[in-house]
């Protein structure tokens, strides 16, 4: 198994343009075993990072998919040498665990462009609705030399907050005629967004929405960049209008904050590793606690006043420091010595 990750990483880094299959495979591996993400770095000290990771979220029906498709088209024209990645996230069915992923439909014209890599992910019951797999896919897209990665999610539940975790910039896409505009503006979306896009800009109600949005943003005191007057872009994605201006805006943001983003990502990655280590440790300790012997007896003793939580924790830590494969022997020894 270990060979797989290292081998795949090597293959991809040696020939990013020609290793679609390997990259896709690695993405699946990491999606299914997210704790192994840190392993990818074994071969690679300086992991290539995208210039920008842009989150695109917002209520359904605002035209996100069309916007993403147009962004990809324009970006490719503007930077023909650069590669980009798109991660499209869809919710898994809580009942069947399956998922319907249809975001590709709007951007199939890019399927045969070797400089565009699109990956669909299902949320897989992850609390906020955003997929755990995003982390791994992002890593691999970096390795593929994707300079821009777009993460598209539907802005329901808390997934927009989660996008903020992974993305350097979060763009909230709104459109007129989506029901109560005011309600929308009161939701958590406003806190998470760095950039706002009013799509379907030539429709009735677009300028009203823009004004309402501006007013709401001016009142905003918390959130990611509350000191920064969040820019609003107006687009008509279907007609391809406003896309160039949106790209200009993104590039401005990159010019200002690009280095900060990379530092933040690296910091976050380190935190993730720390988190992963702690989680693995906790998992093992929990297993030890659960199995018969020290765990059950220890808890009974606490209830009987024969020992304390602190003492049990110390013993657990001492035991848990051993490898899980030797764990059973340890417990048996303990049991013997207690008799």
């Amino acid at each position: 198994m270990d060979g797989d990750i290292a081998g795949l990483v090597r293959e991809i880094s040696q020939n990013p343009a020609g290793s679609t299959r390997a990259a896709a495979r690695l993405m699946s591996l990491l999606e299914n075993h997210p704790t192994r993400i840190p392993e990818v770095h074994a071969e690679f000290a300086n992991w290539p990072e995208p210039l920008m990771v842009l989150g695109i979220t917002g209520p359904p029906g605002a035209g996100k998919s069309t916007l993403v498709d147009q962004l990809v088209e324009s970006y490719r024209k503007r930077h023909p040498q650069r590669r980009l990645g798109v991660i499209a996230v869809d919710p898994s069915s809580p009942f069947t665990k399956g998922a319907v992923m249809g975001d590709r439909v709007r951007m199939m014209r890019h399927a045969t462009d070797s400089n565009v890599f699109v990956r669909s992910l299902a949320s897989r019951g992850h609390l906020g609705g955003l997929a755990l797999g995003v982390k791994g896919v992002l890593r691999v897209m970096g390795l593929l030399q994707c300079q821009l990665v777009l993460i598209e999610t539907v802005g329901v539940g808390q997934s927009e907050m989660e996008v903020a975790e992974f993305a350097d910039l979060v763009a909230i896409i709104l459109a007129p005629g989506q029901g109560d505009g005011i309600q929308l503006l009161k939701s958590g979306l406003m806190e998470t967004g760095d950039v706002f896009v009013v799509n379907k800009g030539d429709r009735e109600g677009a300028s009203q929405l823009q004004s309402q949005l501006r007013a709401t943003l001016n009142l905003r005191t918390s959130g990611r960049d509350s000191h920064n007057r969040s820019p609003i872009c107006v687009t008509s994605a279907l007609e391809g209008k406003g896309i160039a201006e949106f790209l200009d805006l993104l590039e401005e943001q990159h010019a200002k904050y690009g280095d900060e983003w990379i530092a933040r990502r690296q910091q976050r990655f380190k935190q993730e590793i720390e988190q992963a280590v702690l989680e693995e440790a906790q998992r093992r300790l929990a297993e030890t606690l659960r199995t018969a012997g020290i765990g059950q007896d220890g808890i009974a003793h606490i209830l009987q006043g024969k020992t304390t939580v602190s003492e049990l924790a110390t013993r657990l830590l001492h035991l848990g420091a051993q490898d899980t494969s030797q764990h059973n022997e340890g417990t048996a020894d303990e049991r013997k010595s207690e008799e």
């Binding site: 896709a24 993405m27 069947t96 992923m101 699109v118 990956r119």
Partner: protein, 138 residues
């Protein structure tokens, strides 16, 4: 093969110009009901687009839906392209309006299963389950 964390991924595509997508969309839903993660490409896709998408998505299988009679030509293109890209381990199954007399030919070219009108959701998901859990080359 499903485990707690991993789920099998399948791509459903409509190659060629046929725009009748009721069947394809139905298959997408019943496979989702069976626990698969299903990527749908929409209509009017070239074999190249379908194969490229299948590889990027690292799917275990591709389902092709076609009602216009162009299945012999277009299914073959998909099989050939997968082979050329070193992805022959991705299984291909098909459905739509396909005369019984064409099915042996399709099977021979590498299509693992052909579903025709009237196939039940149970049959389809059972067949897909079986295909995906069989060791390669079976």
């Amino acid at each position: 093969m499903q485990t707690a964390n991993s789920r099998a991924r399948i791509l459903i595509g409509k190659p060629g110009l046929d725009g009748h997508d009721r069947g394809a969309k139905y298959i997408v839903h019943i496979l989702r009901d069976a626990g698969y993660e299903v990527i749908y490409t929409g209509i009017r896709r070239s074999p190249e687009q379908i194969v490229e998408a299948a590889i990027q998505e690292d799917v275990a299988a591709v389902g092709l839906s076609l009602l216009s009679g162009a299945h012999n030509e277009l299914f073959k293109r998909v099989i050939d392209l997968l082979k050329a890209r070193g992805a022959s381990d991705i299984l291909v199954f098909g459905g739509g309006i396909i005369p019984a007399s064409d099915i042996p030919g399709l099977r021979e070219m590498g299509i693992s299963a052909v579903f025709t009108p009237g196939a039940s959701a149970k049959e389809i998901t059972a067949t897909v389950d079986r295909l995906l859990s069989a060791p390669q080359g079976a």
